[in-house]
Amino acid sequence: MHLSDHPLFVWPFMAGVVFLAVYLPLIYGKWLKKTSYNHFKILLVNFFSTETLAAIREVITESLLHLRIFRFNKKLGYMHMSLAFGWFLLIVVGKFETMLFTHDGLNQFYLPIFFKYFYPDGIPQTFKGVFFLTIMDLLLIFILSGLVLAWLKRFRSKMLGMKRTTRHIFPDRIALTFLWFIFPCRWFAESVTAGLAGTGGFFTLYSGKALASFLPLEYLFDPAWWAYSIALGGFFIALPFSRYMHIFTEVGLIFLKHWGLKTGDRENGYADFEINACSRCGICTNVCQLSADAGINHSQAVYFLRDLRYDRPSPEVTENCFLCGRCSQACPVDIGIDYLRLKQRKEEVNGAAAPYPWSLPAVRQNRSTDVLYFAGCMSHLTPGIMQSTKEVLKKAGIRYSVLDEEGGICCGRPAMQAGFADQAKAVIEATTRMIHQSGAHLLLVTCPICYKVFDEEYHLNIPVMHHSVYFNNLLHEKPELFSKSNLRMSYHDPCDLGRGSGIYMQPRETLSRIGRLVPVAHEKDDSLCCGGSLANLAITPARRSLVTDAAYSNLAASSPDYIVTSCPLCKKTFSKGNREIPVIDISEALEMSIIKGTSSGEVLKVKSGKQTVALPEA
């Protein structure tokens, strides 16, 4: 076959395909080249494992069927699915259709796309022929129905359960325009063809006949197919520079994820895949409280990722985020948004974070202490928590000492969240030394911010527990110390404890045992951030209070007697201003439920993480 044997109109399409076939491997290769040799070995090993099957499965459930989006909103899920899965099927089924007709698997690449141009009747006489004609038309309707929803999403997003849609930039608009023309053009071209030929699938034949009644189909035949081809070609060429890059990148991301690649400190290309896998679906803007409550609409994950992609990161966008985790949790593509933000913050700060030779308070070494209580910066400003924790420990006969009673040092997490990684590392080293010097067997913290960093970044030689978990264990070991009351309490999941560390059930279980736990509308992994997060370096106090007010309303809706939280920063944040329902910490709730006159005298075995720590007599 010579070049001249191919009809001219297929060239726009082919140009687009060739462009992608060259550009995509180049760019993916460029990203993957950053992978270190060690990482590459891991990838290779996993390639031959069941992870590959798991990856294929995820590609089907997420890239094609978009099940995660369905969970967010069914209409939105259908829209994404119809476009992705519908188009996929259109191509695959179309390929089978051509194979069936030409008995030649290696026919022209463009044949399935423009099948009706070359073979307007299909194979109408046979059952298979009718079957394919029907299927192809059904798929077209499937996709067009999704397209209608896509139009609605852009102009009336509330109908699809979205409070707002992502703002577009120029490359997106170009690609979007081409994309929106593709299927209507296909329908039009196939209808014109069917109208002229007098045969075709049930849908295109019907619309073809309708068009024939008032349009000069002979003159529209070539333009229609040209339009379709141009729409396709234009889309393919615009694709790598727009949000639709996600179509291919997402698949790559899934495989790399299953093969063990992760965003890390050293560049390995995974971050590039993540950033380009964002389809700008806008779900992150819908779950973000800055948007919902504070009227801040420029710094959500989608815009942050877009800035990174087009290499124009801006501090205003990077800094204005609570790092609450709601967006990364909702992201249907599983992008590690929080980690990318932290990475970018580190870049921005770039040397402003020199460690300092801090003077550390003296640590009293006491080998008979079992539990070392690290109150942390925040708990000092909510002494009620410190007192209650000490009271409960005393009542339970546990030998404890407070590491930072007189003066302390920070756990390092706030510095880390601001991107001051070197400084955070130095603080971690200093605090680690202090803890190891104390000789205790368990580190107890009352602050989830501390807990998360102790759990993830420190390498202590003793286990660390958050007091909500420790006290839950205590409640199980020594239930006779505590009473049950009729007090109604709603529980607020702190971001760093809930989404950040996966601890949801223990505090709830405790509260159910000492009182009556009242559910709230947004809870557990859907809980709302109190707004006090230190991670946001750009928000004004006035807008912060808007977020706090909304979070408070969520907890106060059922008029509980108390709102209980397990984070001193949350408690302090909710206490600003005059609130009707008192906000207390879980340790304070526990202290209230202590039966007067009891105390534990025997040896107390309290589970702490993986080991059981036997404590000496009180």
């Binding site: 400003l381 909510t382 002494p383 206490s575 600003k576 005059n578």
Partner: protein, 346 residues
């Protein structure tokens, strides 16, 4: 005019402002019904021992108020809370908690103030550590030092006052200055020093608002005669010590160094907030309150005591932090405005 005795005025709150208003009205022949939610009259006056700046005896003043109620034969209903006041055509319908409603031609609102709840400043440890008390609680102690919070019977050796608790503080939502706590702090510092001459007394302040005549003089007396230690630095937190004392953390801003000191007593100079009834009545009557929650007047320069609603008048601490002379003057002024209003309606 024979109709004068029929014109009735209601006064909500029998504190010094309300009583002053009622007396002034009575002296001009207008009978006022005074409603007081507590069982006693005089408002917060009964909680004070010595008044500033001269440390006049508060109970003497209170007795004077009570006597003038009797001598003017004022109609005061104590233990009666007013639940709402609403416009009813030309009159105001006042409803008490018992459900009784009466119509009045004019209403004077003198609902006074509430003290800031010190527990809201959790970092000061009120209600958490022992020996952290508020200024009114100290006042009671000064009256009867025998029943004090003395550590094992010993008198305190070091005492610290914290100024601006619950005032000038965006974190508790009270941006305003409560005006009278600074002079109270100076006055109480002197009283403590008089009671325990060997005790070291420190006052931690941001500013010292000695606005009245005699106040700055009292401050100087506190410094020179009584050796009170005034330290410019706001206390950020208090922590307990092993021996039951309180560790105070502040910065000596004039020296520029962080400071800590162990004290036996920590006294919080709590500010004034509008009484809860103020918000309730503002709602039902449509009287405006400012951003701080206190009643706003029509024109404080030319129409003292008049609210923005015709026939409704305001006096005393419910319009803003006030001293007792302030409240008394406002009560009288409001009464005169009531009289003007009533004669204007004839």
């Amino acid at each position: 005019m024979s109709a004068e005795k029929d014109r009735k005025v209601a006064v909500v709150g029998a504190g010094v402002a309300g009583i002053a208003a009622a007396i002034t009205l009575k002296q001009s022949g207008v009978e006022a019904d005074v409603f007081e939610k507590e069982e006693t009259v005089g408002g917060h006056l009964k909680n004070w021992h010595a008044l500033f700046p001269g440390r006049e005896n508060a109970s003497v003043v209170l007795r004077g108020v009570e006597e003038s109620i009797l001598s003017h034969n004022l109609k005061v209903q104590t233990g009666t809370m007013v639940t709402s006041v609403t416009r009813n055509e030309d009159n105001y319908r006042l409803t008490t908690e018992t459900g009784l409603s009466t119509d009045y031609k004019a209403v004077v609102l003198s609902t006074g103030f509430s003290l800031f709840n010190a527990a809201r400043k959790e970092e000061y440890g009120y209600g958490i550590y022992p020996y952290v008390i508020t200024s009114p609680e100290l006042e009671k102690l000064l009256e009867d030092p025998g029943k004090g919070l003395l550590i094992g019977g010993e008198p305190p050796k070091k005492v610290a006052f914290v100024h601006c608790v619950g005032s000038r503080d965006a974190k508790v939502g009270n941006h305003y200055c409560s005006k009278v706590c600074c002079i109270t702090g100076v006055k109480q510092a002197i009283s403590v020093k008089e009671l325990y001459p060997d005790c070291e007394v420190m006052n931690f302040y941001m500013d010292l608002r000695m606005f009245g005549l005699g106040y700055e003089e009292l401050y100087q007396e506190a410094q020179e005669k009584f050796g009170i230690n005034f330290i410019r630095g706001r206390v950020s937190e208090a922590a307990p010590t092993f021996d039951g004392a309180i560790q105070v953390k502040a910065e000596d801003t004039l020296l520029g160094r962080p400071l800590k000191v162990k004290v036996d007593w920590l006294i919080l100079l709590v500010g004034m907030e509008p009484d809860k009834m103020t918000a309730q009545l503002a709602d039902s009557l449509g009287v405006e309150t400012g951003s701080s929650g206190f009643f706003e007047g029509e024109n404080k320069f030319l129409k003292p005591g008049c609210s923005k609603v015709e026939g409704v008048f305001i006096a005393g601490a419910c319009t803003g932090p006030s001293s007792i002379p302030d409240a008394v003057n406002q009560g009288r002024a409001a009464a005169v405005s009531v009289l003007e209003y009533l004669s204007g309606k004839e």
